[in-house]
Symmetry: D2
Subunit: 457 residues, 4 copies
C-alpha cells in the first residue's frame, strides 16, 4: 500500500514526512526524536531505506543520523554544502519507492544546498503529484533569505528562480508539502491552513504576487527576521553531526530543598507555568518560560552548558518540555520540582509575586502621565503595526543584553502581544534586581479589545 | 488552528474526514464506530457542529445519527432523497467553519442526491483549496452508476455533467478528498495512491479521458458491478436510520463444547483464520472467512438474523472482526472459540481438513485431462482477463445460490486470485456435502509466477 | 489463567477489583466509568458473569448497572437493604470462578447490609487466600460507623463483631483487599501503603489494638466525620439506580464571551487551576476548585441542577475533571473556557486577584496583633491537633452556610493544611462580597517549616 | 505515594517488581526491555535509585545494567558470586525507600548468592509486610536445586534452611513476591494463582509439607529438571554483563524471494504460526515454533550466531517474538516474510504440508498394530504420568541430538501434550529428511477426552 504521512512537531511548527510503497519507505527531514518514523514504517510493513534532508536546518536538530543508525537507511542532501555525513544528490536524480518516483530539484535561496523532491506515480504519467519544498515555498509565504547578509540580493534572486522557474512549472495540480507550518520562526506570514497546492499558491500566496524578479528581491532584502543565538548550534549540529540520542533525558524529581541547592550551584530554574500562575507566586531568581514558549524563546535565553531545573504546573508538562528542548539541542535537563510550586510553598521557603495591570488601567496610567516604563518586548514588526504611546521597545530576545538601557528603580510594566512574552520579560527584570515590576496580562490583544488608542509606524 | 484529518476504515476502504477551525468542526461521511471523531474534535478543542453525508451510502452504515446524538451536531445531506432524519442542502449553500467556507455542489450520478463540498479559505481568495467528492470522483476512477438500471444512461450522463461541468471547473489546484480508496467495492480501478488533485485527475484519471459525453455514458453503462445483497440493508439503514450503537458488541469466550452446541442451535461458525490454517484443520460445518475478507464477502454469505460465532487465530482478531461487522450492520456476534482451533483439537471433537494443490500440480492435472471440476470464483472481469483452460466460473458471491450447477461427487479444486476466496468457496462446498475438495493456495498469482498458460476473453 | 487486578480511582481513593479464572470473571464494587472492567475481561479472554457490591456506597456512584447492561452479569449485594436491582446473598453462599471459590461473609457495621467476600483456591485447601472487606476493614483503619446516629453503639458493636469474629479468624495469611485507600473520605487514618494482610492488620492496625468490645465501641462513637450533602444523592442512586451513562459528558469549548454569558445565565464557573494561578488572576464570581479537590469538596459546594463551566489550566484537566464529576453523579458539565484564563485576559474582560501571605509574615501579623480574621477551614480534628493562636475555625464544607458569622469588611486571611482549601475558601469569600481577602499559600505546613508557634486542643 | 507494581513477562513467566515511596523507587530483577520501569517511575514522580537482583538468573537476560545506564541507579546482588558489575549486599543490610525499609536475607539454595528482600513499613512496626523471594520460594513450589550436581544435597539443604529458618519465620502475614509464576522453566508445579502469603504457603505449598530436612533434601535431589543449552549464555551474560540494548531489533520485511535466498545463505526460517497453519502449508526447511513456545524451546533449537527469519501469521506477532527473543539473548532477528505464508504461496515457490491424525484414529492404528513410530516428545515426567502404549520417548529439547535413534523411512506421528511441541518435532523430522510425518493435533489432551487407554510409570 502506498502511504504518505505528515508528522508535525508543535512549537517549532516543523513538518516532516514519511512516504512508502510496497516494502520501502523514505523520510523527509526527520526530527530528532525519531522513534515515530520507525513505528509507522513497521506498522506499514516497510523499511526506511532513504532519508532526505531538504536543507541544513538552522532551527532544530535534524534526526537523520539517529534514524539511520536504527534503520540502516542512506541519508541524502544537496551537494552545495560540505556535510560530515550522508550522500549528495543533484538535479534530476531519481529514486524509486514502489510505484512512486522521487525526483530531485535543486532549489537554492533559503540556503545554497536546498533541494526539493518531486513525487510522481509511475502508473499515472509524468506530472507531479506532489512536491516536498523544504524551506523554499510555504503555504502563504516563502523561505527566509537572511542567512547570507553579504550576498543578500544573490540569495533572494536564487529563491525567485527556484520558485518561478522550477516549482511553479511543476503545474497547478501539484500538492505542496513544505517543511514548516504556521508558528515557525522560519517565516512570519504562513497560513494556518496546512494543505495547499502549487496552483493555489500561485493564485493566492501574497509573496508570489511579486512576479517581477527585482520586486521580489527588493521585498525579500527588506524583510526583517531575528536570528536566535541557538541557530549557530543547530547549524553546527546539522552540518557536522549531533550527539546520539538513545533515549530521551528523564529529569528527576526534586524537593524544594534540592531545587534551592541546585540554584545556588548554578542551575537555572525554568518555570513552565502560565503567566497568571507565575505572577501569583514564583521562586526568586527563576526564569518564566510558559511551556509553549520554549521553542521560540529558550534559544535566546539559555546556554547549552548550564543545568536546567523545571518548575511545572502538571507532571505531563515535563515530557513535553523535554521534547521541545531536545529538538533544539538542550539535553542538560537534570531535574524538576516535584509537585511544582505547591511543594515550594509548603516548604516555607520565600516566594515572590508580580503585579498585574489590566489594559484599561494601563491606558489610564498613560493618560495620567504617571512616571513608569512601559516595556514592549514584541518583535519590531509587531511594534510598528501598532503600539501604545510612550512605550519603550526592546525585543525579548535582546533584553538580556540591553537591560542596562532600563532604570531598575522605576516602576516597569512589561507588555507584549497577549501576555506570555511579558511574563518572561518580567522575570528577567526581577532576576536583574528590578523591584517594581508589573505584567500586562492580555497586553496588546486586551488593549485592542478595550479600545485603547494605538500609534503606528 | 485549522485542521483536516482523513479517517480511513480499512476493508471497506472508506474515507471520512474531520475539518475544523477555531471552535467548530465538521465531519464528512462518519462511520458507525464514531468515537474517533469525537476524540479528535476534543483534542483540537473544537465541537462538532455539522455532519455532511455526501450521499446515501449503500456499502456501509453511516454513523451520522450516533455522532449527532453524542455531539448535538446537525446532519446535512442532498435534498433529492427523502431521508427520515437530517436537513437538506442545495447548490450554493455555504457554511462557515472559522476562516474556512464550505460550499455545496449538487453532483448527482452515483445517486440522485449526491453532493460535493468545496473548501475555500476566506483569507486566500475564492478559489477552491479542496473538495469532498463523495462517490462522484475517485483517484483513478469515478463512481458507480449501476443503481438505477432502468435509468442507466440518464444517471451516467448526470455523473458526466457533475464531473465535467462542476468538479473539473473548480480548477487544477483543488485537492481531492473522495469517500473511498483502493479496495472499495464502490469502484474497481482506484489508484492505491490516496492523494491527488482535480488537476492530476484531469490529466491522468483514465475514465476522464472519455471527454465526450456519449463515450463516457457508453463506458459507464457497459461496466459490470456486483451488488451484494447486504446493500439493501445499508440503503434502508442509511435512509431511515440504523439501530443506535452505544458500545461495540463484545463476543464472549466459548469452550469447544459451547461452540458445538451453538452450532447445533443454528449459529454459523465463521473461521477468521488464514487459508493455510483452515486447510490444516477446521470445524466441520464452519464457513471460512479470512479476517480481511469480511467487508467484501460477509454481506453475500451471512444473514442478519443468525448468530455468528467466530473462530479466531489470535485474540486481536476478535475486535477487528467486530469493527468490520458493525460497519456493515451485523451485530449478532454472540461468541468466539476461546484459544481458537487449539481448544477444539484438545477437546477431541472431530475436525476436517482440505487438500492443497500447487499451481504446477494443477496445470499438470489439466494437461493430463484428469476428471475434476476447477471452480474459479473470481469476478467475471478477472476471469475474462485471464483463466486456466477448462475452469468452471461461478462468482463467489453467487455460489450459495448456484451450487446445484456443480457435481458434489466429482473432485473439485477451488480457485481465485490468490487463494483467499478459494478457501471460502471450499468451505461452502464442504458445507454442502462435497467430499473431494481441494484448494489452490496462491491460485492465479501462483499460476502466473510458475508460468501457467492462460486463456483470455 | 487466574488473575486479580486492582483498579484504583484516584481522588475518591476507591479500590475496585476484577478477578477471573478460565472463562469467567467477577468484579467487586465497579466504578461508574466501567469500560475498564470490560476491557480487562476481554484481554483475559473472560466474560464478567457476576458483580458484587460490598455495600451501598455513599461516596460515589456504583457502576454495577451500567456494567451489567454491557455484559449481562448478575449483580449481588447483601440482603439487609431493599435494593431496586440485583440479587441478595447470605452468609455462606459460594460462587465458583474457575478454580477459585468466593464465599460470602455478612460483615455489618459500616452499613447493615455490608458483606465481605473470601477467596479460596480449590487446589490449595480451604484457608482463605484473600478477602474483599469493602468498608469494614481498611489498611490502618476500620470503616466509619456514623451513618445511623441513633443506633451509634449498635453499629459500632456490629463492626467489632464483623472484624473480630469473622475477618480476623480467617487467619493471618489472608491478603486484604479493601474498598478504599489513603485519601478517601471513608476513613481518616488509612495507611498510604496499599498492600497488607489480615495478619499485619491484626498486629499493627491501631484501631484493632482496641481488642475490648466496649473500648472499640467507645472509640468509634467518639470519632468525628463530616458527611458531605452529596452523600444523600449517592445513597439514592446506589439503592434505587442511577441514570445510565453511555458515554462520558464532553464539555464544549467556549470563548470568554460565551463564558461571561453563561455565568449571567446562572452557570457556576469552576476554576480547576492551582492556588497560585487562581490568586494570580481569576474571573470574578468563579469558584476555585483545584482539580484534585473535586472528589472531596465539590459535593459540599455544588448543586446537582446547576450548569458547570470549567476554567482549566491545561486541556488534559477537562477529561480528568469529567471523570471526577461523573463518579459523584454530576453530569451537567456544559462547557469549558477554551485556552483557559489566557483567553479571558486577552478578551479585555475584568479579572480579579487574591493576595498571598507567607507563613512568616502571617505570624508577624499575629504577633503585632493586627486586626484581621484568620479563617482556618480545616477539619475540626486537624484544627485541634495544632493551630495558630487567634484563628477562627469554620470547616470549608460548612463555610457556605456559616458565612454570616464573618465580617466582610475586615481583612481576612484564609488558612488550611497546605493552601488548597484556603484558595477555595478565599474564592467563596470573594463571591460573597468580601473585599480584603488574602490566602496563606502553604498554610499550616509552611507554618511548621518556618517554626511558627502552635496551639493544641 | 507508596506503590508496588508487578511486571510480568509472559512466556518466561518472570515476575519483576517496582516499589517506591516519595521520590525514590527500587526495582527487583528487571527484565532486559526495561523501558517499562522507567515509565512507571516517571509516572509516579520517582527516580529509580537501586536495582536488586535476587540471584544470577539462568533463564533470561537481566536488565540491570541497561536500566542503571538510563537512571543512574546502583545495582545490588548477593556477595557469594563474583559479578563484573554492581555492589554486594549482606544479611541484615537495610535500605530506606521513603517510609519503607528493605532488609536483606541471604537465602542460598537455588544459587549460592541468592538473596531475599523483606519489606517493612516504618509506621507499622517491624513485622514483614512482604518479601521478594526470588527463586527460593514460589507459590506452590520451591526453587530448583539442580545447578550444582556435585553438591546436590548441600544446596538442597541450604534451600531448606533458607525457607524454614529465614522465610517462614517472617510470619504468616507476609505477602509473597516471587520471581516466577506458573509456566516458568524454573519450577514445574507452581500455582496458576499469583498472589499468596508466607502463611498460605506454609499451610498449603506441597513441598513445604516436607518439614523434615532430610525428606526435603531427598525430594529435591530426586526431582528431574531439563537444562536448556541457552542457560549457559544467560549465566555468562548475567555474571559478566550483556550487550547494551538501546532499541529493540526491528526485523525488516522480506519478499518470498528474499526469504528463499536468506535460507540458502544459512538463515534459519522460524515459523511462528499455529500447528494447524503450519500443517496446512509451510516452507520446506523451516522450523515450526508457535509464537508462545519461543521462551521454552527456542533456547534448545537455535544458535546464537545464526540469522533468524520469522514467518508470522499476523504482523503483531513480530514485535511479540522480538520481545521473547531479546529476553533470552537472541538479537539476530534480521527479517520476516511480509504478508506471511500468503506471499510464499502466491510466489509459486514450493510449500510442504504435514498430515494430521485425530486421537481416535491414532488409537485405532495402535490397536491395529500398524507399523509406525509414535514419537512422544514431552518431558519425561509427563510421559511417566500417562502415555499411549508403544510410544517412543525423546524429549523435544533433545530431539536434535538424538534423531539418529529414529528410522526416517518409517511413518512417524509426533505427539505431545496438546499438539504444539508435536508440530515443532514434526518440522525437525522434516528438516532431517523424514518423509512420512504426521502430527497428532490435540495429542494427549485429545486422547484423554476421547477416552484413550493410557499407561503409567
Amino acid at each position: 500500500m502506498m502511504f504518505l504521512e505528515k508528522i508535525k512537531s508543535e512549537g517549532i511548527a516543523h513538518l516532516s514526512y514519511i512516504l512508502g510503497d510496497g516494502r520501502d519507505a523514505v523520510v523527509i527531514d526527520p526530527r530528532r526524536d525519531c522513534e515515530i518514523y520507525a513505528q509507522i514504517a513497521a506498522q506499514q510493513g516497510t523499511r526506511i531505506t532513504r532519508i532526505f534532508e531538504t536543507h541544513r536546518n538552522e532551527d532544530y536538530v535534524i534526526g537523520s543520523e539517529d534514524l539511520a543508525r536504527r534503520t540502516g537507511a542512506t541519508i541524502h542532501h544537496g551537494k552545495a554544502l560540505d556535510f560530515s555525513y550522508g550522500e549528495g544528490v543533484s538535479e534530476g536524480d531519481t529514486f524509486e519507492v514502489g510505484d512512486l518516483v522521487l525526483r530531485i530539484l535543486e532549489t537554492p535561496g533559503h540556503t545554497f544546498e536546498s533541494i526539493s523532491i518531486v513525487i510522481t506515480d509511475k502508473n499515472y504519467g509524468d506530472d507531479a503529484v506532489g512536491v516536498f519544498t523544504g524551506d523554499a515555498l510555504f503555504i502563504g509565504d516563502v523561505g527566509r533569505t537572511d542567512f547570507y547578509p553579504d550576498r543578500a540580493r544573490e540569495v533572494a534572486g536564487a529563491l525567485y528562480d527556484s520558485i518561478f522557474e522550477k516549482l511553479l512549472p511543476l503545474g497547478d495540480q501539484t500538492i505542496l508539502y513544505p517543511a514548516h507550518g504556521a508558528g515557525s520562526v522560519c517565516g512570519d506570514s504562513m497560513a494556518s491552513r496546512e494543505f495547499s497546492t502549487i496552483g493555489h499558491e500561485r493564485l493566492h500566496n501574497p509573496v508570489l504576487k511579486k512576479t517581477d524578479r527585482e520586486s521580489f528581491i527588493d521585498f525579500k532584502v527588506n524583510e526583517h527576521h531575528y536570528q536566535p543565538p541557538y541557530f549557530r548550534k543547530m547549524e553546527e549540529y546539522n552540518q557536522y553531526g549531533s550527539p546520539p540520542l538513545h533515549t530521551l533525558p528523564q529529569p528527576i524529581p526534586l524537593s524544594a530543598g534540592d531545587v534551592e541547592k541546585a540554584q545556588k550551584d548554578g542551575a537555572v530554574l525554568l518555570d513552565l507555568r502560565s503567566p497568571e500562575a507565575y505572577a501569583g507566586a514564583f521562586i526568586p531568581g527563576s526564569l518564566a518560560m510558559p511551556l509553549e514558549m520554549i521553542p521560540a524563546y529558550a534559544g535566546y535565553l539559555l546556554d547549552y552548558d548550564t543545568d536546567i531545573i523545571l518548575i511545572p504546573e502538571t507532571p505531563e508538562q515535563i515530557s513535553e518540555a523535554v521534547e521541545h528542548f531536545i529538538r533544539i539541542g538542550y539535553e542538560r535537563l537534570s531535574g524538576y520540582l516535584k509537585n511544582g510550586m505547591h511543594s515550594w510553598e509548603v516548604s516555607g521557603l520565600k516566594y515572590d509575586r508580580i503585579g498585574a495591570v489590566h489594559a484599561a488601567a494601563l491606558e489610564q496610567r498613560l493618560k495620567n502621565k504617571e512616571d513608569f516604563t512601559l516595556l514592549d518586548v514584541r518583535q519590531i514588526s509587531e511594534y510598528k503595526q501598532g503600539r501604545l504611546a510612550g512605550a519603550t521597545h526592546i525585543f525579548l530576545g535582546e533584553l538580556r543584553n540591553r537591560i542596562d538601557e532600563l532604570d531598575p528603580d522605576k516602576p516597569t510594566v512589561t507588555f507584549c502581544g497577549s501576555g506570555k512574552r511579558a511574563i518572561i520579560a518580567a522575570s528577567i527584570l526581577k532576576r536583574h534586581g528590578f523591584d517594581k515590576v508589573e505584567d500586562s496580562l492580555g497586553s496588546m490583544q486586551a488593549c485592542k479589545n478595550v479600545g485603547c488608542e494605538l500609534q503606528q509606524g
